[in-house]
Assembly symmetry: C2
Homo-oligomer: 440 residues x 2
């Protein structure tokens, strides 16, 4: 008989749903973790005979999935959750969000808002998020503190803020931050020009150059509303996506957020150029932007991930909600009940996000050699009974309340629904203080 | 100084949102309950000086709303939750749901399934549901046992089942049940012809007669899919709603479920005839039926309530989810971000359901003289921080996990998230047994 190998952590589960290979559901399997990395995935009986660990966790009624990846958010804006509702995008931005941002956004605001967002996301099974906001160095600090993974957006916008004076200042500050943390194991970076309507050709051209030099993803709002397209036609004579094409921004590094309004030709162009899309169903509905034709775009072979957008336009950072909504909307929008199956929706919310961010070699699925970014969902509950198919339940029946454990890089960050690295009560108190300030 | 009056229960809350009068939010108010009825709603300080109770509950971080009314479900089908997904309506019914029903549906199935559904709904803040299923006498029994309120559908369908042999048998059994329980304080009844495609003119005509005689609501699936309309045109030469008009079924007693596909004229007809609509957004998306034009129908002045449909096509009985989805879809569908505001969505999920069922004199809003059918939502949580407007949070940010207490007729049925009248563990065990049987 062979000696047992030691492992940092062994997680046994009723089901493991690795996302890769496709449509796989492993019953009564275990994940073995060493140095933050998945070392083995094998039947529980074999895990018990081959490995030994002081940290052996039995999740007998749980499904284990890759940590969810929130492909588009503005985490700090969680402090503006529900500040203004039932308004169209530009009115909401111009008369509610931007004035509050001008007056209140600071490093402190970003720290408190991002930690609040991280706590909400961790409790909802999210292990990684793609952010775009002012003071990205503070976002990075919050992410490091709580142990999550994030792609930090190096925001560029044509107007000044408390964070930066002009586009060069935004770019300089962002790139310096990237230099500082380029090797950090929890962080990756995206160049993040806000949107075609808020960034000039000059700045976009610089960003294209940096993106090529650094082989960096570019995270931008694109074709979110009909008005955005009309205003681009007025100002530039072309639709935003054509303008970006002319500027050289289309390509595998592009993460086009929203893509609610696009022609068949534009869909084909995105596919040809190997661009990724961040689909934000709740936000698109809430701001009456429309419904992105995701079933069609996925069928074209485009890499589509899912994002919550900010808690100011959603009003939650709940990837279970977005995953369900993505699957349901795809069916109604395409008229095909078999469009975007539960398995596909789960892939959008995990692996496809990692692909968009260029980090799919290290996260996004449960595979040997990838980081142990893992979410456990407790199925021993009324709302998930009976259970004929755990993947169906994950997408259509479960909600974030059923998330019990979360690991990032093998480190336990949510333990039986309790946050390990963050103080929930303190975060709520700080949010309440900001609420009083913003209300005044 | 006056002597204090005694009360059965006094509930103090951070906010009371009574739904009537419109857009009201009462801060730091209390509800005084006697004999199951709301006796007073007044500021906490006044409640403390005027009333005394052994059962005085302080919910300092909570919003109190009328219990949610689920205007369309098939509760027992909760035992088929997730049995078959990603399929269009007729394929799903013909090859998955109906064969299982033929083989397994019995009084036992209906009892276990309905109790499971009641438990899920109570934990999600639902106090009343409008049901349609076989063995309605068993549904009634389950409702009485758990203390909820329900409108029991007296189902009629053209094909035989374990419950009844033919339409006359269905009708006879249903009407006998109604006679038996007509005075029961938890129950009301609807005549419930399944759908235009599954009930003959002859049976529908009888139902119209009984509905008039008894002044009873009529609960029917209507204009759910495009196919339903085509098949009616083929068979009857008219669209289903015109057929029902000819048969005399349109009127204030009609609860038309789904109404996804309808012309402008049909919308006007429903308004003229004062019909109610049960909007089931998740189910309509999941079966790819489409998106009902609710913003337009509400603007016409039609009484629209919200239903979950069954857990087999949803796959949850979660009125918070449906309320959020109704508000979000109305915005995208109409292209107006101010369509169906949070206040309106809450009204759809409460008072409008009661109006449709003809029980708005006794439930559906928090008003003096109405039954104490009450749901408390705990706002002391990360996901609801900060809070600028509790009604916005109820619709856009809260989920059923935040429901802490539920009363029906003044009786506490959910106490700090724990079911009082039902045994959760036992219900899960029974669901698991049915799962094994259905899988075999």
């Amino acid at each position: 008989m062979l000696d047992s190998l030691t492992a940092d952590t062994i997680i046994e589960a009723r089901w493991i749903i690795p996302v890769e290979p496709e449509k796989t559901i492993l019953s009564d399997h275990a994940i073995v973790i060493n140095h933050g990395v998945i070392q083995a995935i094998l039947p529980i009986s074999q895990a018990r005979s081959q490995f030994i660990s002081h940290n052996h966790i039995a999740l007998n009624h749980h499904a284990i999935i890759p940590g969810l990846i929130n492909l588009h958010t503005h985490a700090a804006m969680t402090l503006m959750r529900g500040l203004a509702d039932d308004l169209p995008l530009m009115e909401w931005l111009k008369y509610h969000i931007w004035p509050v941002e001008t007056r209140y956004v600071s490093a402190d605001f970003v720290l408190d808002g991002t930690l609040l967002a991280c706590a909400e996301m961790l409790k909802g099974g999210v292990t990684c998020f793609n952010d775009m906001y002012f003071f990205p160095e503070v976002t990075a600090k919050a992410v490091i503190e709580c142990g999550m993974r994030a792609a930090i957006g190096l925001i560029v916008i044509d107007f000044p803020s408390a964070y930066a004076n002009d586009t060069d200042d935004y770019l300089f500050k962002g790139l310096s931050l990237r230099d500082c943390y380029s090797q950090h194991p929890q962080l990756s970076f995206c160049l993040a020009p806000h949107a075609p309507y808020s960034v000039s050709d000059k700045a976009l051209t610089k960003i294209v150059t940096y993106a090529e030099q650094l082989d960096s993803p570019v995270h931008i709002h694109l074709h979110e509303t009909h008005d955005e397209i009309c205003s681009s036609l007025d100002t530039y004579g072309v639709r935003p996506i054509e303008r970006l094409r002319q500027l050289g921004m289309l390509g595998p590094n592009l993460i086009a957020v929203h893509m609610v309004h696009l022609t068949k030709e534009e869909g084909n162009l995105l596919k040809e150029q190997n661009c990724s899309i961040a689909h934000c169903p709740s936000s698109n509905l809430k701001l009456a932007s429309g419904i992105a034709r995701i079933a069609e775009l996925v069928a074209l072979g485009i890499n589509v991930g899912i994002g919550t957008d900010s808690a100011a336009s959603n009003n939650r950072l709940d990837m279970f909600e977005e995953m369900r909504l993505a699957a349901l909307l795809a069916k109604a929008q395409s008229g095909q009940a078999d469009a975007l199956s539960a398995h596909q929706a789960l892939r959008l919310a995990t692996l496809n996000g990692a692909i968009a961010l260029g980090i799919d070699k290290i996260t996004g699925s449960l595979a040997i050699g990838k980081a142990a970014d893992i979410t456990a969902v407790d199925f021993s509950t009324l709302a998930l009974s009976p259970c004929f198919n755990p993947v169906s339940h994950l997408v259509y029946a479960a909600s974030r309340e059923h998330v019990s454990h979360v690991w990032v890089r093998g480190k336990l960050l949510l333990d039986d629904r309790e946050l390990v690295t963050l103080n929930e009560r303190e975060l709520i108190n700080r949010a309440t203080q900001w609420q009083r300030r913003l209300n005044s």
